[in-house]
Amino acid sequence: MNDRPSPVIADTTASPAISFPWRALLTALALCSLLLIVILASLSLGARDMSSHHVVDLLMAPDSSADSVVIWQMRLPRTVLGLLVGAALGLAGTLIQALTRNPLADPGLLGINSGAAFAVVVGLSLFGIDDAGVRLAAALGGSAFCAVLVYILGGSSNGKNQHTRLVLAGVAISVSLGACTGIITLFDSAVFDSYRFWAVGALNSPPPGLYSVLLPVIGLGAVIALSLGGKLNALALGDDLALALGAQPVQVRALSFLAITLLCGSATAAAGPIGFVGLVVPHALRLLVGQDWRWIMWLSPLAGAALVLVSDILGRLIVLPGELEVGIVCALIGTPVLLGLIIHFSRRSR
């Protein structure tokens, strides 16, 4: 009864079914080196330039010099925040693109940014609270609420037009909440001023105690995301075939939503809405390493972190002594990178 179909002896001289993932490994190596350089640069560059040698010394042995204080109290927290936020946005973007098969999908599509913004504004105008911790909690709660709403409206069905429903539900909720946020800030200029401070999407003033919230939430989201790569590969073949292969689309979708909410919600809560990272990272990685979501999932936090840190550094340097918001710089450098990749690969495949 339990006999397997008789195995056919394969011709062992043939090329392997899955060629060795050179491209993925090279990309991983390149991203790791880039990340290391960018971290050092993020610690060394700014209004007060230091040599990277000096920075490493101060990291190993902090002293009471002004340089040491700048590094330990300002640049290190900012760099770590950039790493966390970038990694989270990269992972969330990969999940949403795998889920919707829409190359234009962005974690903001689930209403996460608009939900967070709305909650922050409501908190400000109703309760007049302008405390970093409360803002964090409000933003996290708001994004979770929106993600659940979008999931109920469009994500839980498994019909043929499920992807379209998801996108439409996300857009509808984002737009209507954006309008509500707009109305509140239009009539209350005090709220508008505080809101603007959050909405610029900046890494410069992480509130104390932020990491004790951020690390576990992003860590949990990352573990879920990384474990879903293989199942998303099965889902990419269509729901029926995925089910036949033993992947459970409904469960995978629910877990993906949870992970996106944890990752993108906490990143948005901590640093304000930063667009474009979640869009450009999975796109670029797919062009570089192919269609395997497991590889893309592992590489996306590296690429996301590198992109956010580079943007933050450039934003600090371009308009000294002012600063350009990290979200804007991300779009500024992400677009040419993406366009370059697309042009390069469309040439090659011809």
């Binding site: 009864m1 339990n2 006999d3 397997r4 179909p5 008789s6 195995p7 056919v8 002896i9 394969a10 011709d11 062992t12 043939a14 090329s15 392997p16 079914a17 899955i18 060629s19 043929k160 990384l226 474990s227 790569g229 293989g230 590969n233 099965a234 990419a236 073949l237 269509g238 729901d239 029926d240 075939l241 089910l243 036949a244 292969l245 033993g246 992947a247 459970q248 192919g290 269609q291 395997d292």
Partner: protein, 264 residues
């Protein structure tokens, strides 16, 4: 008229009813799939053939009745266990843009892999064997988007073969293929049944192909089984008229000796 399978088949349904939304699509279907046979389901468009296949492979939860697989009710297995015993190639399968043949076929190994496991020699052997059996080994590095319809269909079958399930269900595997590719594919399936120790079920639209290749036919209309049995037993002018509302004569296929339906 009906074949009565005297031993329990690996796969059979017991008074199975399947709904789509609030509409009942399949009514009270009790059917046993002969082990190691090639069973073909025929019937007019929209009669519930795909739905039955989906029900047999636990893609639709029965509203009444049960499906039994290898001696247990199918819902008592984990999804992974079912996926190691029973494969389904649905009509709706889609290849991710830009994916290569080797990678696509290797996704058939999903039921054998864990979240963070690596590619094993066993996976490699199964995928190469599946590619070889479907003569797609030389396409291994081609992008699926660039293949012809016949090649693409063979690649999908390779994916289902790489799953190495003793029972394999195929929904209209020959649709969109020209006549030569249809015959090639059906020969491939017959070959798999004979050499591979597999139980095959396919939905086919061409009655004459069904008669030539099937050892068991299931004829459906309006969500019920009208008749079932070997082609020689059940393909008669009156049955065909009952099934499709088509008046015809049945002669003997000059090549295979199986029934040949000629519409009037």
């Amino acid at each position: 008229m009906n074949i009565h399978v005297s031993y329990p088949s690996r796969l059979y349904s017991d008074k199975l009813s399947l709904d789509c939304g609030s509409t009942r699509i399949c009514h009270d279907i009790s059917v046993a799939i002969p082990d190691r046979g090639f069973t073909v389901i025929i019937g007019p468009n929209g009669c519930g053939k795909s739905t039955l296949l989906r029900g047999l492979s636990r893609l639709v939860r029965p509203s009444a009745g049960k499906v039994h697989l290898d001696g247990k009710v199918i819902s008592d297995y984990s999804t992974r266990e079912v996926a190691q015993r029973l494969g389904l190639l649905p009509q709706s399968a889609q290849a991710p843009e830009g994916i290569r043949v080797g990678e696509l076929v290797s996704r058939g190994r999903f039921p054998y892999r864990r979240a963070f496991s690596t590619w094993s020699d066993e996976d490699e052997r199964a995928v190469l064997a599946a590619l070889q059996a479907t003569s797609t080994l030389e396409l291994i590095d081609r992008e699926v988007d660039t293949l012809s319809g016949g090649q693409r269909q063979r690649v999908w079958i390779a994916l289902a073969l790489a799953q190495e399930t003793p029972v394999l269900l195929l929904d209209e595997p020959t649709t969109f293929l020209d006549i030569a590719h249809q015959i090639e594919l059906l020969n491939l399936l017959r070959n798999l049944k004979e050499t591979g120790n597999r139980t095959l079920v396919a939905v086919l639209h061409d009655l004459n192909h069904a008669c030539r290749y099937a050892d068991h036919l299931i004829a459906m209309r309006d969500g019920r089984i009208l008749f079932e049995g070997s082609p020689a037993e059940i393909i008669t002018p009156s049955n065909i008229e009952a099934l499709f509302g088509l008046r015809c004569v049945v002669i003997s296929d000059p090549v295979s000796g199986t029934p040949l339906v000629v519409p009037r």
